[in-house]
Amino acid sequence: MAEEKRRLTRREAIRFYLMRLVLLLAFCALVARLWYIQIVRGPELRDQAEDNSLRILSIKPLRGVIYDRNNQRVAINVPSFSVVARMIDLPRDEMESVSQRLAALLDVPSTAIMEHLAAGLQNPYLPTVVKRDVPRHIAMVIEEENARLPGITAESRPIREYATGNSNGHFLGYVGPIPHERSEFYLNRGYERDDHVGIAGIESVYEADLQGLKGKRNVEVNAYGRTIRVLHETPSQPGNNLVLGLDLDLQAAVTDMLQDGLDDSGAPSGAAAVLDVHTGAVLALVSLPGFDNNLFARSISDQDYARLANDPSRPLVNHAIGGLYPPASTFKLVSMGEWLENSGMDMELGFECHGSLVLAGGWEFGCWKRSGHGFQNIYEALVNSCDVFFYSLVGGNPYADFDGIGPEALARAATACGFGQPTGIDLPGEQEGLMPTPERKLRVKQEQWFQGDSYNTAIGQGDVLCTPLQLANLSAAIANGGKLMYPKLAAEIRGADGRQVRPMQSQVARHLPFSADVLAVIRRAMRDVVARGTAIRISANPYGIAGKTGTAEFPGPLDEGGFLPTHALFTGFAPYEEPRIAFAVVLYDAGEGSEFAAPIADKLTRFYFDSARSAT
């Protein structure tokens, strides 16, 4: 009964040897392969492992704060969270589930999120913003769901908050993601794809100052993109602060006044500019209707944007610099200056006004005062805004045997007064306006210049177009003795520590082609416009307001009296004795300048000089 081992047959034994051989060879292959990966390629792959987990993240700097001239904050940064994706940490087969989860958390369709993620694949190492301005509690949930949302982080990305005011959006602009069409421009300048930049207004003009310097953070991250350890950090440097010459309270007050004016006259839009006559500093720059730029700063919704973009009164356009209006009677300031300058102060020139001037061939050019002004010399003609006088002055008067100064001379003077060219304000989107000449008419319209064209041009109608800012700037130059300044919104750049980095020097663009004596006469006439002329309505103003009214006809539906619709204009300065501010007010399709524009100028000067700011 001895126990024995079973004997294998020879074939069986061979098969088992074969089996063991296969096992050993297979394991030899595994070990050889391990040797190759771990020893031969080990150093290279260890580097890759470190690349995997070591990242250099950029730290976004805080954008500079914008103050007004009285150190009121106009644009500040407020805390906000953005949901950001780094595709390097998001395996592609998890994109679908991640976008679905994010869609539920952020209340955004998952297709939209997939689009963001797909865009992020272009450079998977750089972050892509999936959604801005995410509530804090959602941001916390996203951080907690680390493992479910690889590559997705909620990062603190402050957003801009702007002083509320219906017309601040126009000059301030806003900050947002780099626009698609400008991405190359910015990326070449060291910006990152998820950076925010100034898109319009001051924010875009002073982008370089406001932006600040990026910092760097060397970190170890886990596979889901979460920072595990900070190895080294170079802090970011906040952008410089910007101090504006603008007076935020005046801006708000003028906005309200203009809005009231629009409401009273039923005008759809309007603009006003207030300048410091000596420095060219923009004290207020209002364009209505306006928009809340905080909408843009918080990433505007499609319907909000469509509403703004499709509004016929074009709220997105800054009418103060981008709206073109015929200067109308305000243009008579130029004609008057040109005559006085070139005639050696001939104040005696005068014409009889019977309410209209009839040319050969029966063309009749009417004065705004149908009953006629009677005899008007140049001074009285400006005070009363006699159209017949200025027709005659520029285009000649067949009844008085006077040839007129001619359209070329007027155009030269007007150009020297800033018409037909941008003022050079530190804002994008400025229109240059238009100053017609016979040569230009022939070139552009292939038409002859008629005497009637000279007449129309003389009273700032016809093809003459200008912006409210150009008018205000002209008044400022008349007031300050002939210096046409570059209007400036910015007053100085300050470091984050409050020290001045760079002042914005006031700059003279050119000199008006009028002597000091001529300007003194014009100023006196403008004072009399208010005191006893077309703007007598506001003569009660205690601050020595001087100005010129304008009522600009424009092609449109006739009113019940058979007249063309008109814009209301008023430009001027105050006080007369020692001018400090100049302004222009334009109300689109409002009616008479004296009735609708002048009262706003009255109110704004009262506001300005009533308050303590007159001392500063």
């Binding site: 294998l8 394991f27 292959a29 070990v31 771990q38 080990g42 260890r46 890759q48 592609r92 493992a147």
Partner: protein, 395 residues
């Protein structure tokens, strides 16, 4: 007397290797889940299953594998039923329906079905070489394998399906089926695979493509392959230290405590550590082949061959996948990967080997090499109490 003799024949090397591998697995799972909130739960579960494995190995000598012969078809039928049931009532994870949920535990029938297939094929082939050469007999074994293989394929689980085919191939070969049959089937399979490639499921095709060039699509299907390569390579000679691997600790690998646990090992313990683990596998597999050659009957021998095959194939396919010798198939690494069903299945396999080892000595080998229990005796009598009496009766 009997008890002592059994423990003398007990293969301690086999148990040592299996328990060491299981313990290393628990440590690696701990490392792979160090930063996860559910970490300790997975480690505790795996430890409990490891303890269950220890119990299995301890009671293995008490159980005689030979009564499995009479139950082979019952076990097989049960396994097929379970596989069918999981297709109907199982839970689907990641697009594949492989699991039953029972309270906190998930049960993967296809793991246990491997043992069932081994037992039924071992029983089927224990008839002896004279029947093995019959081609109908050969085809019969194909049908036996094809039924569960097809059910698993429908889950879908391509890896386990191939595992079934591998078990069958090795057992058929070791049972002594003429080579020409095998070659014929091999050619047929190649043709079938080729046809299948045309209408293969996308995730499978991705894996094939990914295997050929993982860097072609670094954030897609190739992600894990690439990260596994980096993990393994970053380990270099000595590894980055247990719990110190950046790839592992920062979770660059998905399913790293399951199918990719070898990458954790390679990164943290290096070439030395992973080679030692491979050496443990070799030790285990060599001892398993010795159990096979020492088995007292063909039934035991065939079971040992099957168990050896399944452990070897899974190890080779899994490690080969991690180090980019083979495409990605969801095959766990025996003893090391997280997963209760898989671990228990492996320990059942080792327990079977121990049972075969301790019962390898018959009092006499005058009996025919094929041992067959008389039909009447099969279910009535407990085999380990009666076999010696029956032996005597026969001899």
């Amino acid at each position: 007397m009997i008890a002592i003799r059994k423990w003398r024949l007990y293969d301690y090397w086999l148990t040592l290797a299996a328990l060491l591998l299981g313990a290393i697995g628990v440590v690696l799972i701990r490392s792979a889940t160090l930063l996860e909130s559910s970490a300790s739960l997975d480690v505790i579960k795996q430890s409990i299953f490891l303890c269950a494995g220890v119990v299995l190995l301890a009671i293995a000598p008490k159980l005689n594998y030979r009564w499995l012969g009479s139950l082979a078809w019952v076990i097989y039928g049960g396994a097929v039923l379970m596989l069918a049931a999981v297709l109907v009532a199982g839970v689907s994870i990641g697009g594949s329906q492989r699991w039953f949920l029972i309270g906190p535990l998930s049960l993967q029938p296809s793991e246990f079905a491997k043992i069932a297939l081994i037992v039924v094929l071992a029983h089927y082939f224990s008839a002896g070489p004279h029947r093995v050469e019959d081609i109908r007999y050969f085809f019969g074994s194909m049908v036996i394998t094809a039924v569960p293989a097809f059910l698993v394929y429908r889950e879908p689980d391509l890896g386990t399906t191939l595992m079934f085919l591998g078990i069958w191939g090795a057992m058929v070969f070791m049972a002594g089926v003429p080579l020409r049959y095998l070659i014929g089937v091999g050619l047929g399979l190649l043709a079938a695979v080729f046809l299948q490639l045309i209408r293969i499921r996308e995730y499978m095709w991705d894996r094939v493509v990914t295997f050929l060039d993982p860097s072609a699509d670094p954030f897609g299907a190739g992600y894990n392959v690439l990260q596994a390569r980096i993990s393994v390579g970053a380990g270099e000679l000595w590894g980055r230290g247990l719990f110190q691997g950046s790839q592992t600790q920062l979770q660059y690998l998905r399913v790293q405590h399951k199918d990719f646990v070898f990458a954790v090992l390679a990164e943290e313990l290096g070439f030395v550590g992973s080679s030692l683990v491979l050496a443990l596998f070799i030790l285990l597999l060599m001892r398993a082949t010795i159990v096979a050659t020492n088995a007292r009957d063909h039934f035991g021998q065939n079971i040992a061959v099957g168990v050896t095959t399944v452990i070897f194939l899974q190890t080779f396919v899994n490690v080969g996948m991690v180090i980019e010798l083979l495409p990605v198939t969801g095959i766990p690494l025996p003893f090391l990967s997280y997963g209760g069903s898989a671990l228990i299945t492996m320990f059942i396999g080792i327990a079977l080997l121990q049972s075969i080892a301790v019962h390898s000595r018959a009092k006499s080998y005058a009996m025919p090499p094929v041992f067959r229990v008389p039909a009447r005796a099969r279910l009535r009598v407990l085999p380990w109490k009666t076999h010696s009496a029956e032996d005597n009766a026969r001899s």
